[in-house]
Amino acid sequence: MIRLQWLDYLATLRERKTWLCGAMLLYAVLSIPVMLARPPAHVQEAIAAWFGHGGPFVLFMYVWIDLAMNKMVAFLPVVLASGIVLRERDVGVLSILAAKPLSMPRYFALRAVSACAVMATLHVGAQLLGLVYFTARVPGFRPLAFLAAMTPHLFAAIFATCFSAAIAGWVKHRGASALIGLAVLGLLLGLSLIGFYQPAWRNLTLVNPMSLGALALGNLDHLGPKDLAPPMLALSLLSLAAIAIGAAGVRRMEA
């Protein structure tokens, strides 16, 4: 099973769409410092007001999460995961797979974990590349705070992938699954930072998994395990629940 998982991960990693996802992330890494070369005064004032403290690093982290990584998480998980098992069924491979000693829910879980691993590889790759590039290009860049702040975001990206897979498990139509995934993830990500804009809603927005991925933005100066562990744990549990729900959805799928 572990061998099969590894081979499936490698096969997904080699797909053309994965390479295009990587190219999009590379473009994001290269373009953000250019975007932040001369921020206008009203943007700096707004960032200072929303996050309680200003400075170039806070502005950089806001733009990196809101403009680059959140947009990527709105699209890439859907592309990676909203067709799993459905594609095999539609191209007629599922009947062959059904004859193997591997139940449909287990096969779904295997494919979903592969998609999550590819999403995690892309996400971590972008942060590591950014770590090197931003250190040289972004004034006031703090590598450790950057990595710490992006760790919950990685868990949010993995949850988004599991969520897209779960939609596929229940909707059972590739086009509808992708559309629902795009609309719901777009909505969740669009609302993910709303607690910073309207502090009265801060606690309410914690029900949004995507808000958990961006929580670190509010406390960049003193990030520690107490700030990072709870959202990561919550997102891990939600991811497992999403895979379990998706696996239950494919239980009765006909080849």
């Binding site: 932040l36 070369a37 890439l76 859907v78 590739r174 509808a176």
Partner: protein, 263 residues
Amino acid sequence: MTETASLRDYFLLEARHAPRRAPIVAALVGGLGVLGTHALLVRFPARALHFLEQAFDLRGLASVLLINDLMAAYFAPYFVGLAGLLGAIVTAREEGQLEVLLAKPIHARVLLAARVGPILGAAALTGAAVAIATGLSILPHLAPGDMVSAAGALGGGLFLTAFALLLLALLLPLLVRMRDAFHALLVGSLVWLLPLMPTAVMIYRPDVYEGSAILRSAITLPSLVWHDAAAAWVGPLGLILVAPFCALFVRIAGHVLERTDTR
């Protein structure tokens, strides 16, 4: 005569099988999204609304609401159309249906026109429904001296619907050569995102547009809000004018499909 009649029957048959549920649901969700955004934004602190005014060079609550609404009028028709096109062309090839269909005595360009026409039409109706919702929902927020109007909001929504259709039509020659629906979805998403980049630049690097007001008006989204009176008539006109462009690109894509290995 017989051939014309059978072709008409074929076009009707394809239209009958075109996806219907997704455009209806997308129109409803788009309309509800517009209302939901209004309900949220009016409860934002004045400071956050002022930031949006400064970032997009706007004046008044109605214009801030409208700039967000326009995104729904761009998103809904584009992705409903894209999902339909992927199902009709790329998925059909993946599943081996296209090869079987093209083995029938029917030209690739006719098959493409029959399948794509209803999908683009449904996407146009979805966008028009969201644009109407935008125009109507902005009415309670209008104040004397506002830079926007209900007609301008409707026109802006229709313009973005026309733009979404144009992008879909431009994508067609590429889609007929693709073999992986999710690779095509990613390419389509990229094509949707690219025109929004000049607007993002406007927020964080307004200096890029210093001294080039015409360029700023030509390539950024808030232009539809700044030129409200023009948007009121450019939008409907754009929706009419995009139809021949779509027909042209369906034809080009048909020629590409005829020269492509459908396996």
